[in-house]
Amino acid sequence: MTLSGDGTITGLAAGGLPNATVVQADLATGVAGNGPAFSAYLGSNQSPTNATYTKVQINTESFDTASCFDTSLYRFTPNVAGYYQVQAACRISSTAPSTYVWAIYKNGSNIAELNVATTPASFDNRVIASLISMNGTTDYLEFYCYCSAASGQTFNAGAATTYFQAFLARAA
């Protein structure tokens, strides 16, 4: 490896510099990290029980850079500690007036929630977002939704309508 006087580094081995030798202050403006990022969506319509917080079955990946999203458990477990920008959307529909809730769960507990009442029967699609600290080993995130109506309640599938995304915004 050679470090030139102008700050250029050449001859790096595969994998680049070890994490411990690079801190945020070393990065120039406009240099983005390559931490975990994923986007996945609901592949087919889901019919939840009414008035029940139900995990959205996010089972189809658009991308998953570090293989941290589990399409069987519908769960994101990032392998780098830090602060993650998380967003999720679900188009919820029902054939009766209802209250809809979108919620992000961390380690099985609801930590961010959006709550909307619809009258008359309709559908609604909202995005919930949060910045969440993750330990990079055991912490995990899931997406739940709630529909109070007992008639025609559905989570509508599609990459553009019902998705779950996150990326590392800042390392710990």
């Binding site: 029980t49 029940t52 917080y53 139900t54 959205v56 609801n110």
Partner: protein
């Protein structure tokens, strides 16, 4: 009959908003079905398994 319906049978005085404030019914999409994840109702006790089975 869903868990929600059973609880309403036991406690018909419950309001819809109780189920996203003081009571949380949950389904983890793991095949194990609905369950009571939180019961913080200020006056009504959490229903027992016997009550739910009888409802």
């Amino acid at each position: 009959m869903t868990l929600y319906d059973k609880i309403l049978t036991i406690y018909p005085q419950l309001q819809q908003q109780d189920f996203y404030t003081v009571i949380t019914l949950q389904n983890d999409s793991d095949g194990r079905g609905d369950y009571i994840a939180k019961w913080d109702h200020p006056t009504l006790p959490r229903p027992t398994e016997d009550q739910l089975n009888a409802a």
